[in-house]
């Protein structure tokens, strides 16, 4: 599904160049639930952004679903994101003035799906995450756990091959964290590849595999 070969990435900060990823090699197979762990500054967020086509990389090769992702145009990246990837963020990043249903339906808007169908599918996914009754609520009327479930429904609606979750439980208490992880595992059981970035070992331990990053390199993989 995902194949990275010696990915390198540096940021220009003023006159200095800071190398964040110093050659990442890894393969994530279809249907895997993988955790990426590392202390802050280890490059885990950058790696996730590269995986999510939200950021480009300098060297190496990235193959997603058998297609090369190097040097994509903005437009092509947007299309691949729309077709293959779903995102879940630490701070949910729901659009505050849209209802839960509209937030979930948004990715389909960018795929040109008709409104009626969008609404129906969004409601189906909200039902799936147990929030059908909250469809018409605005994000600020919901709890953190509920917001994250809406965000997960939004990530799922476009039928992605991979879900990339950046600290999905970072803003949640331990009970809701477990709920969210349970939901992610359920989704994973349906065959969707999930990559979770986290610094909490309890969360990472619930995954099939942990990739540890340190100083821009992978420390070692374990099952």
């Amino acid at each position: 599904m995902i194949e990275l070969k010696s990915i390198r990435k540096a940021y220009e900060t003023g006159s200095q160049s800071l190398t964040v990823l110093k050659g990442i090699d890894c393969i994530i197979k279809k249907g895997e639930l993988v955790a990426i762990m590392g202390s802050s500054g280890s490059g885990k967020s950058t790696l996730l952004n590269v995986l999510g086509l939200l950021d480009d990389f300098d060297e190496g090769s990235y193959t997603l679903n058998g297609e090369n992702m190097h040097g994509l145009s903005e437009k092509a990246a947007a299309r691949y994101r729309s077709d293959f990837l779903g995102f879940v963020f630490q701070s949910f990043n729901l659009i505050s003035y849209k209802t839960a249903l509209e937030n979930v339906a948004l990715p389909l808007y960018y795929q040109g799906v008709p409104r009626k169908e969008r609404q129906a599918r969004a409601l189906a996914f909200l039902t799936k995450v147990g929030l059908a009754d909250w469809a018409e609520h605005l994000p600020n009327q919901m709890s953190g756990g509920q917001k994250q479930r809406v965000a997960i429904a939004r990530a799922l609606i476009a039928n992605p091959s991979v879900i990339l979750a950046d600290e999905p439980t970072g803003a949640l208490d331990s009970v809701t964290s477990d709920e969210v992880m349970a939901l992610l595992k359920e989704i994973n059981n349906e065959g969707i590849t999930i990559v979770v970035v986290t610094h909490e070992i309890e969360i990472a331990n619930q995954c099939d595999r942990i990739i540890r990053l340190k100083d821009g390199r992978i420390e070692g993989a374990m099952n």
Binding site: T46, N49, A78, R81, Y109
Partner: protein, 412 residues
């Protein structure tokens, strides 16, 4: 392409922050409002002044006489100068061929009566050419013709206001033609009705044949005024003709060449040009102020757009992560800006028009009347504002989409 989904999306975002939307809209509406009102007041001033001074055509020369101030060739100072029929004939001979020519006899405050109704109006004895020189707009019947003048006929052409004042309510101009009207106690036949648009004094006048007027209402062969049409002659040509006519006429009437008041030869071409220059000045001023207002409005819009886009950086990042292309985001922001500006611009336009129409009945004055909106320039202003708005939205929008989603989404 703007389909229903796009509209809903626009509505949603525009309405999501009522205060922000309200302030942006207010600055645009106010800009257009001020422009419309300024424009309307300028137009009102112009039409008011034009009504008072400019109800004749402008391509003619007017000859009148007054009091000679200077002694000349044995004649005393401060004497009254008059034009008589034989002198007018001499003028006509001197000019040989002119596009149009009319003599005048005026009798102000003439009682005109029809049935039991009567009123006081201006009486003008004229030649047929006055129809052309005065640009008399006939709504029915005909003007004074040559046979009227040759046969001293008692034909009258009445102004629309007289029709309204003296005839039963609802009488059409056609119905009035052929009716008898009494002018200064003598029966005339109404042969025509005229209506000068936007003119208050003209429509309170009666035209009758010059010869009839002189014979019935004047005890002498004095001519009050002569109007000489200048056709397509240029300002320079009419100016030369005015000068030579003045010299020639002063000689004929024995008036000192330096006398300022004995003989009046007024070139309406030149007067009109002076008015035109004044109005050009006013228009320029109005446009200048309007443009400055627009500029201020546009800067406000640009400013707000920059803030709006900045505020929404994160949202833009989310949308990109969800599959939006940069193009679609820029298009959305621009559409929102245009939509907002169209709506608030139209509100400003309507409010300005409404105000002008509301005050119009209360501000009638000699130099101010009928303030109206120049719709074309208001739309032009709106267009300019939208253009500026789009330009000012595109800048920040492009900057916003050039920010990588990563940075947009970064929490701290």
């Amino acid at each position: 392409m703007v389909d229903r989904d796009t509209w809903l999306e626009i509505f949603h975002t525009v309405l999501s922050n009522p205060l922000r939307t309200g302030l942006t809209g207010l600055s645009i509406a106010l800009g257009i409002f001020i422009l419309v009102v300024m424009q309307g007041l300028g137009a009102g001033l112009e039409s008011g002044v034009k009504q008072t001074f400019g109800d004749d055509a402008v391509n003619f020369i007017r000859v009148e006489t007054g009091n000679a101030q200077l002694a000349y060739r044995g004649r005393k100072p401060n004497r009254s100068i008059e034009l008589h029929n034989d002198e007018v004939q001499a003028i006509q001979n001197e000019l040989d061929s002119v596009p149009s020519f009319s003599r005048f006899v005026f009798r102000w405050g003439s009682t005109v009566r029809h049935g039991n109704e009567q009123g006081s109006y201006g009486l003008r004895g004229v030649d047929p050419d006055q129809c052309q020189i005065g640009q008399v707009h006939l709504t029915s019947g005909r003007f004074v013709n040559n046979r009227d003048v040759d046969q001293n006929r008692k034909s009258a052409v009445i102004g629309g206001q007289i029709l309204e004042d003296l005839f039963p309510k609802g009488t059409t101009p056609d119905q009035a033609v052929g009716a008898f009207v009494s002018v200064r106690g003598i029966q005339f036949v109404d042969v025509g009705v005229f209506n000068q648009t936007g003119s208050r004094w003209e429509n309170r006048s009666v035209y009758i044949p010059f010869s009839t007027a002189q014979k019935l209402f004047s005890n002498s062969d004095v001519v009050s005024r002569v109007s000489i049409g200048t056709g397509d002659a240029t300002i320079r040509e009419t100016r030369a003709r005015t000068t030579s006519l003045t010299t020639w006429l002063k000689n004929l009437l024995v008036v000192h060449p330096d006398d300022a008041e004995g003989v009046w030869v007024m070139n309406r071409n030149e007067e009109a040009e002076i008015y035109e220059q004044i109005f050009d000045g006013i228009r320029l001023f109005v446009w200048f102020v309007g443009m400055m207002t627009l500029l201020a409005g546009a800067m406000g819009v640009a400013n707000i757009m920059a803030i709006v886009v900045r505020e929404r950086t994160k949202e833009i990042g989310v949308r990109k992560a969800l599959g939006a292309t940069s193009g679609s985001i820029v298009a959305q922001i621009v559409q929102e800006a245009v939509f907002l500006m169209m709506i608030s611009g139209c509100i400003g336009l309507l409010a300005g028009t409404w105000l002008l129409q509301g005050i119009a009945p209360f501000v009638e004055h000699d130099f101010f009347s009928n303030p109206r909106v120049d719709f074309r320039s208001a739309l032009l202003a709106l267009g300019v504002l939208i253009f500026v708005g789009v330009i000012s939205a595109i800048g920040p929008a492009l900057r916003a989409v050039s920010i990588r989603p990563v940075e947009a989404l970064r929490d701290e």
